[in-house]
């Protein structure tokens, strides 16, 4: 054992093992990770850091930037909330009910993952345009979806939907049916059972799904730019503003906005990890 550890030359860093290949695989992993992910991200932070504080703050608090955050966060929050409701309903339907075509629909839930964002973008725009299949029925009510913030929300709802369904589905499968039956035997009503048995079990998953959906929606670009009007202050999302700044060769301004979005992503990742840890603790606390 001692010899193996000494041979690897990493005593204390890793535990000895009879398996070979740690140096090769760990070296390749860290090298590739550094080249493709870490160094480029460091370049972004350095670029933003090379700005003086005043112009950094000026860039990220510019009215046009604030308008972009408002749309990005507002529409993402709304989309994640819509998915909180409909994602739950879909997950519930797929887990609890048996109906013809259920397996097909279950497989199609992942479509927004597999479908390129540009395709969902042009397809949604066509469907929700004034003469589109759905847009034409909304038009008489004065509801314009394409080229407005509503369209942005619709696109973000579609692309973040699988995150919600796929997170809630396994949690719903965990709900013990015998607990529900026992509660019903003891005289509990439908809503009471939902509130006291089902909801506590799936709540951590729903919050995780909400955060995942929100995180995905905030960064989304491809599907949104087709259906948004892309008007500054009104229908311009933050990633688009970054692209515009890059096209104007304002690398520093783009990097500054990029750092803001990166900070939010880190925060989201942290929140997701905390939520998942909370969910695991809760489940193990139920005493099974």
């Amino acid at each position: 054992m001692k010899a193996a550890a000494a041979e690897a030359g990493t005593t204390g860093f890793r535990q000895p093992s009879v398996l070979p290949g740690f140096g090769l695989t760990f070296g390749f992993t860290t090298f590739f990770l550094s080249t493709i992910v870490l160094l480029p991200l460091a370049a972004l932070v350095l670029m933003a850091g090379s700005m003086d504080w005043h112009s950094f703050v000026h860039t990220i608090t510019h009215p046009r930037a604030l308008g972009a955050y408002r749309l990005s966060f507002g529409a993402s929050l709304l989309a994640a909330t819509i998915n909180l409701v409909f994602g739950f309903i879909i997950a519930w339907t797929l887990v609890r009910y048996r109906f013809p075509g259920r397996k097909l629909i279950d497989a199609l839930i992942d479509m927004p993952f597999a479908l390129p964002t540009a395709v969902s973008g042009i397809a949604l725009t066509t469907v929700f345009a004034q003469n589109g299949w759905i847009g034409r029925y909304l038009e008489p009510f004065g509801i314009k979806v394409a080229y407005t913030w509503i369209g942005v929300t619709v696109a973000l709802t579609l692309i973040s939907m699988p995150f919600m369904v796929r997170t809630v589905q396994p949690a719903l499968e965990e709900v013990q049916k015998d607990l529900e039956d026992a509660a019903e035997t003891l005289g509990a009503g439908r809503f009471y059972i939902f509130r006291r048995i089902i909801l506590p079990t799936v709540l951590p998953a729903m919050l995780t799904g909400f955060t995942l959906a929100f995180a995905r929606a905030v960064g989304e670009y491809g599907s949104v730019i087709f259906i948004a009007g892309n008007l500054p202050m009104k229908t311009e999302i933050t990633p688009l503003l970054i692209v515009i700044k890059l096209e104007e060769f304002d690398y520093k301004g783009a990097a500054a906005l990029g750092v803001v979005m990166l900070a939010i992503s880190f925060f989201m990742l942290l929140a997701i990890n905390l939520l998942q840890a909370w969910g695991r603790r809760r489940l193990s606390g139920v005493g099974r």
Binding site: P20, G21, L33, L46, I90, P112, Y251
Partner: protein
Amino acid sequence: MAGQPMTVQDELATRPGHDNWLTHILRWMFILISLAFLAALLFAPLATVFATAFEKGYEAYLRSFNDPDTRSAIRLTLTAVSVVVPLNTLFGLAAAWAIAKFEFRGKSFLITLIDLPLAISPVISGMVYVLLFGLQGWFGAWLQEHDISIIFALPGIILATMLVTFPYVARELIPLMQQLGNDEEEAAITLGAGGWMTFFRVTLPKVRWGLVYGIILCNARAMGEFGAVSVVSGHIRGVTNTMPLHIETLYQEYNYVGAFAVASLLTMLAILTLVIKTLVERAGYKRH
């Protein structure tokens, strides 16, 4: 009927766990809401892709693939994917071996770093390379002096796609290999098998479905990536336009048949991806 004793059937129907009229109404409400939501957001856009592509007939659809720019876009996408997917697969295998087979400090931090690209906006994934290799970027001047083009050229497209699809294979294989354990590998090594032999004869067959799963998802995302590639490509028609970017170009030229014809190819790829994914799941693979 009043006063008559309840039959056994009537008595059974009131027991917990048995369906009554409310259960039926709730069930159909849930199924209907789910289907309506998915129909508006997912099925209608999917159908639109093909409806618009074939709007002017089968001939016009086929003719749109005679466009040399469309052909070059398809070629470029295939070229980029043929570099990106194998490299990320290699990375995924190496990372999974290092992480699942050995115990070392900072392991969970390494896993977080590998997952990082999933949390950042695709626009940022493209932008970091512009900041590094673009004209005003860190190495821009040096690259220009040596007449090397990365941004607005194939290397940039490959790098951006690589960053976006970086974690796809690794995040399937890491939990799978961790769960399957090291016993068989350790037995093989103890019995005198070499490292490579152990990998190819013991590990690879064990994780094959997870590997297939990771590769097809990586491939789908790589072929469809829009945001990251859009930032680094420069949108030069017939030269640096990948399929998703070419869809945008055609769409903005109001060439809807052309745009949706290319989109229909990517949609079929997405459907194929979901079919393979479902088959892999049927073969017994369960995500972790």
